[in-house]
Symmetry: D2
Subunit: 259 residues, 4 copies
């Protein structure tokens, strides 16, 4: 029987200037891939450089957490940018982060849109194509991380970009495999043991119990763990421990999604 492997990812490097966000060093103990802010919603060159060095030290693969240019809104406001602007802004951010990876002898692994851009890319074909084009043009082998069965995935496939399906550790799912909207009660799961059980099921069995109780197919390539709260750090550790107890190997995306 072959070993099951999964990637665990978290958002890192979201400090800015004198403001600290999250406990990156703690989160790094649990994940295998980091989505590093590139200065548009968080992060600044100093934070980026230090975060990449931290990732190298922890054998965590680095990805670019690209965003709308909106520090004041933390990338959570729809900017109404054109597809051309999104494409260009993504390239700028990816390039900047690549420079810090190169200094460390690392190769950038993936790109993940941040905040509202992530959600829009799932629904908006034109935006999804702009992001996929930037990932494609930024260099060979970059993986695009996104919601499965969405415009993001379609655009990646059409562009010849490797796509990593992302599952959320603490989110409830609908019968069709989509995320339960945050507006619905029960959309976010807070019980650590329950979260760990659900992730183990996704990873080892390829299913999830949807909000209506039905068991539906759901097999992500990477599991997203939040990293900006104390609880989140504990949750990440618990999920990792539960997976390892089942013999699952936590390893960066690039080792799972060979082209």
């Amino acid at each position: 029987m072959s070993t099951i492997r999964i990637d665990m990812n978290s958002d890192l490097g979201e400090s800015f200037s004198s403001w600290v966000m999250g406990d990156d060093a703690a989160v790094l103990q649990s994940v295998s891939s980091a989505n590093v802010a590139c200065g548009f919603h968080a992060g600044d060159p100093q934070v980026m450089r230090k975060t990449v060095a931290l990732c190298k030290g922890g054998n965590v693969a680095v990805g670019a957490h690209v965003s709308y240019p909106d520090l004041q809104g933390f990338g959570r406001r729809n900017m109404g940018c054109s597809a051309d602007e999104v494409y260009t802004d993504c390239l700028y951010q990816i390039g900047a982060l690549q420079a810090f990876c190169a200094v460390q002898g690392l190769t950038l692994q993936h790109v993940k849109p941040h905040g509202v851009l992530y959600n829009q890319a799932a629904k908006d074909k034109v935006l999804a194509e702009a992001i996929a084009a930037a990932v494609k043009d930024a260099g060979s082998g970059l993986i695009l991380m996104g919601l499965p069965n969405t415009e993001s995935e379609k655009a990646a496939l059409a562009a010849g970009v490797t796509f990593a399906s992302e599952g959320f550790a603490d989110r409830a799912y609908m019968k069709d495999g989509s995320l339960m909207p945050r507006s619905q009660a029960g959309s976010v799961i807070h019980d650590v043991a329950e979260v760990a059980r659900r992730v183990v099921q996704m990873v080892t069995k390829g299913t999830v119990i949807a909000g209506d109780g039905t068991e539906v197919a759901f097999k992500p390539d990477t599991i997203c763990l939040h990293g900006d709260t104390k609880e989140a750090v504990e949750m990440a550790a618990a999920v990792r421990k539960a997976l390892e107890a089942e013999g699952v190997v936590i390893t960066p995306l690039k080792e799972i999604l060979a082209k």
Copy 2:
């Protein structure tokens, strides 16, 4: 008798958002290397992308015009950044521009500090070393452009970075080969024919007539032409014409300064 070759450079891509600066298309007709703003003192991702495409179309080599993070002061205010911040900010900017070069199939040729950073790098050893380290770390073969016989040049040599000595077409020089301070009368030469004659002398004879009338050795690798005024466009064209009349070949730095 071998052909004399020289690089002519100018600052390009200094527009920002809806604000246009300079006539890049016109300047591109005369120069062989462009110093492209990277969003810290001017330029934005859109402007950078378009400028790099323009450079490719004109067979002009691309360099990163790195600056303090100071859009409001156009990079002309001393920021009091630490050497560590300067190193990091340079890497960020270089990486961002490299992404746009990669999309066009171009390799970034050089780095030139902008504004007050350029002047400080000539005098401040620690700052000069920070910039040279960033150029070194950003990738093999990048050339650092700066004032000859300064801390910039020393730092480049110490770091194993190829240094390009820059001469200014319209500036007067002192007996020791340094720039005449702008505070002195006659420090900037406005007569186009006189400027062209002086550049031809620098390039073909390796000397310049200093402010006190003496002829001193001065042999730059690249000649800086300003690009943000109508007069400057004419001056660049006149200098190029005068050089070509003497059989000088205008060609990018990388073809002159083989490692």
Copy 3:
């Protein structure tokens, strides 16, 4: 027969840092009210201070041209800000400009939303109310400038804020008095004499010839003249000359819209 009075307004102070936009000194010769950028889409403290001083010298009333925080998009991108953010950002900008007015012994006359915020305020009740509330809260007597017969006007009236109906000198109108969308052919009128004739008709007769040829009632309190092109400066002068030839007095809004 009483004298007809009208306000002419234009966007001023849209330079930023080293970038110049428009010929403010020339435009000031023709208008009676200036919409001064407050640093969010254009302008910076230096530009604001100088623009207010210029307005004082030209006896032109000062208004705050409030915008989304989007220098890179020049305030022309929908930011998806909440009504609360819009209210707060408006107050910030109004206060900053008031400081420069106070130094000159001037009182801020009006507020005009810029770019996409102007258009959204016409259609979006919640946004319009947020802007009207900021104008109300910023101090007694501030006038809100906007499109007539829209959510902007309704919100101003509901908040007890004096509203100034704006007409556009060079735009075509629909039968219902709304602006012809820019996507339609003929929506922008370029012929200076035609523009001047139309403005005279609006001001002296209170009507406009709509796109379908019908003459409809349209009586603005202020006429908007663009200021960022050479043609615009000539157009503003021509409109003023034509109005004055009919005995119309060009005077700031505050002298027309007494509370």
Copy 4:
């Protein structure tokens, strides 16, 4: 015997976007004046509005904590701005904060330069005069807070601006009444009881024990308490308690420094 009154001030509103700094609600329990960031080194319009509302609720007077425009450096980098730029940037920030005060029915009480600007204003006559001029021009009655016996104080007096001498609760002093440089051992006092004793001595006796053991005259108008650490909150509370135990009344500057 008359009641002794003293002002206690702290820096508030230094959060930005999604980043939280300090525990403003806790600090407000102890101080009588707040130095509110104005968006240049920290704070944004939302944070400013909420902070002013918080101050009103706590009967704490509001001051503008003006800074160089340097979010990325938190206002701690020398920006090399001209005196004209400093004057103008101060007015912009003061005006913006005044708008939020006006909404709450409050009058801005004072201005305090932040970070490196505070230190430079103490030594640089031209910069000090620029700041004093901005405080003067921004409106009648604004108090300028600064280091006693410095260029700041001289400039305030020369400009006819009321000056508030500031003492630092946890800092050691030299024999001449100046701050012991942070580079010297013992320059920062960490023992809460010791800090409280020293403040009581300053306020009730008008002296401080200098680093060399001599007792020197030192009678500040306001005592600065840091607010961005857990320890600082406890220290502020301890200082207040110690002062009140001596019958000292903690009250805003404006009630102490009547013009």
